[in-house]
Every structure is written in C-alpha cells, then in structure tokens.
C-alpha cells in the first residue's frame, strides 16, 4: 500500500456544499466522448456543481467506480472516483473528484479486463500502470494535490484520465481478440 494523501482521503462530497443531480450517462459513439476535455476553473460554481453531479451519478450507477465529465456530456477535465470495497483495490482514497489531473509518474504495467458505462456491452483487456502518481485540483479549492496509488485505483484513474482526453478503453485494447461481448447470465 502506498502512503495516502490525507487531503484527498478525508475529502467528502459535502465539502462541495450542494447536492448533485443524477445525469444521463452518454454512450459511445456519441461525439462528446471523443473530444479533448477543456481545462476547468475549479472555483467556477458551474464546475463545482458538475463535480457534485458526477458523484451523484456515480453513486446511483451499480458497479460504477468512476465517472468523467465527458460521460455526462461535458468535454472537461474532471472526474469522480470511488473504488472503495472493490476486491482489486489496495490503496484507496475513498470518494474524490479531481480537476485538470495529469500523470506525474506511471510504472509497472499490467493487463486486466475493464469495462465502461459508456461502452456497456463490451469489455477489453487493457494494459495500465499499477503504480501511479497524479496531480490535480480538488473542485471548489485551489489546492493542487499529488496522489500516489496502485492496483485498481491506479487503473480507474487512468481510465478516467483517458475520458478527459477523448479516449476510450477501446483505443488501448491489447490485441485483435482482446475485446469481449459482456456476458449477462440470465
């Protein structure tokens, strides 16, 4: 386990000061998912409201561990994340939202299968770093935070960062046969 960033780990959506709305999750091939997200002003009340909406939408979506702004139709560099309780999680910062996040360091690539609410019927094997350091800003503040994590939280953050730059896991699938129809057992 890596050392937690306490500011991120102790963050709560209550700090946004408003309750978000549940928004519709956009599915590929919607063009907004392919746009490069704009840098956001983390103090902009519209962006603070968007952060609350991302958390609210993530909360009501079963199995959802992260949601990026483009997935609710806004081409902006913001995502919400919460990998609490997932069996592949090691280091865990709980629920948090980051704006304008960038990768500082990424290492130890591993392949694993991932899915996406915006591509609901497919999953794919994707190689991602299992050690990750990112830097971003908590919405409603000007605090630049640097967060180091591993395992599933690292994978989830990289997945959301891809959304923020107009990419999907489909762009990173590891082989011609590494894409799978999602199995639903009746």
């Amino acid at each position: 386990m890596t050392h937690l960033n306490e500011l991120v780990a102790s963050w709560s959506p209550a700090q946004l000061g408003l309750v978000g709305d549940v928004l519709e999750v956009i599915r590929a091939p919607h063009p907004v998912l392919a746009l490069l997200g704009a840098e956001v002003d983390p103090l902009d009340p519209v962006m603070v409201a968007l952060a609350a909406d991302l958390v609210a939408t993530m909360r009501v979506s079963p199995g959802c561990v992260g949601l990026a702004a483009p997935q609710v139709g806004v081409a902006a560099q913001m995502f919400a994340l919460d990998v609490t309780g997932h069996p592949k999680t090691r280091t865990c910062h709980g629920v948090f939202v980051l704006c304008n996040a960038v990768v500082v360091e990424a290492s130890r690539q591993e392949k694993a299968r991932e899915g996406c609410m915006s591509v609901p019927d497919l999953t794919g094997d994707v190689k991602r770093a299992t050690r990750l350091t990112v830097q971003g800003v908590i919405p409603g503040t000007t605090d630049s935070v640097t967060l180091t994590t591993d395992a599933f939280e690292a994978r989830a953050i990289q997945h959301e960062l891809d959304h923020c730059s107009g990419k999907l896991f489909l762009d990173r699938v590891a082989g011609a046969h590494a894409l799978y129809p999602r199995k639903v057992y009746l």
């Binding site: 091939p29 497919l122 990173r172 011609a176 046969h177």
Partner: protein, 168 residues
C-alpha cells in the same frame, strides 16, 4: 495426406466443435491451426488440418444441414517472416458502411499487412481491433496522418500504436 481447410458456419448449439472434430479424428486427421468464434450468435470455425480429402469430406457429410461445411485442399504453407514491426490498430465510432475497407486500404497502401482482425457491432457502436505489421520503410507519420484524415471523413476515431509484447 494433404493440407485441408475446413470451414463450419451455422446456428450455434452446444456440441458443434465436439461433433466436427470427432468426425475429423475418425479419419485420422491431425488438427493444426484453428479459430472459432461466435459472430452475432452464429457459430463460425476455420480449421487447417492434414488428412485425406475424400475421407474428410465423407466424414463431415452427416453434419451438413443446419451447418454449412466446406472442405478444400490447400496449396503449400504460406508462412512468411514478419514484414515489419507489429502495431495495434483500433477504430471505433458510429456504424456505417465502408469503415473497414477505408481504414485497411490505408494500411495496404504503405505495404502493411493485417495479421489478425476482429470487428464488433454493439448497438450503434462499431469497433475494429487489428494487429498490423508495418514495413520499416513505410513513412509512419504519413500513415498516421492518412488514417486521421480517413477517420475524420468516416466520423470515427482511429489509434495506431506499437504492439507491446513482454517476453518473460
């Protein structure tokens, strides 16, 4: 004994592979490379094997009906050394006719070859993933630009990146 290509296509049900390979095994066939998948719920299998043409044809005869089975004699093996470095090609976007042909034409134009390809239609979303070899002499930057232009015209996204392989 000659090298044979056997294809089997039809509605999926449990036991097709067992039935087909049992019939082949009964003639003393040796299965070599094969690939099987479900294409929109249809069973689809290709097998290259070595065996007696007439015996194999006869052995699969009782399985014909719902299954469309072909048996052909093949020429000598067509293996060749890689023509260049391996790349992964991903294309996804709204479904429309011509995506595969337009994108693969760009690869062919620079002398690249596709060694494996899968496409999936999932609702309105069309996804292509392919493994590609690009000759060292090809202008990769030009290819990337050509792919981007083609993708833009088609309204899809395209990614061409070096395929990584980890030797353990």
């Amino acid at each position: 004994m000659s090298q044979l290509a056997v294809t089997v296509i039809g509605p999926d049900r449990p036991g097709i592979i067992a039935d087909v390979t049992e019939a082949l095994a009964g003639t003393g066939v040796n299965l070599e490379d094969s690939s099987m998948t479900l294409l929109r719920g249809h069973f689809a299998m290709m097998i290259v094997c070595s065996g007696e043409f007439e015996a194999v044809k006869e052995a699969v005869e009782p399985l014909r009906g719902e299954l469309v089975i072909t048996v052909r004699e093949m020429g000598p093996e067509q293996t060749h050394a890689p023509i260049g470095a391996p790349y992964m090609l991903s294309v996804h976007g709204a479904d429309r006719p011509g995506i595969v042909s337009a994108v693969t034409r760009m690869i062919a134009t620079v002398g690249g070859t596709i060694t494996d390809l899968t496409t999936r239609l999932s609702g309105a979303l069309y996804v292509l993933t392919a493994e590609v070899e690009i000759p060292a002499a090809a202008d990769l930057e030009l290819l990337q630009r050509a792919l981007e232009i083609t993708a833009e015209e088609l309204g899809v996204g395209v990614t061409l990146r070096p395929a990584e392989s980890d030797d353990l």
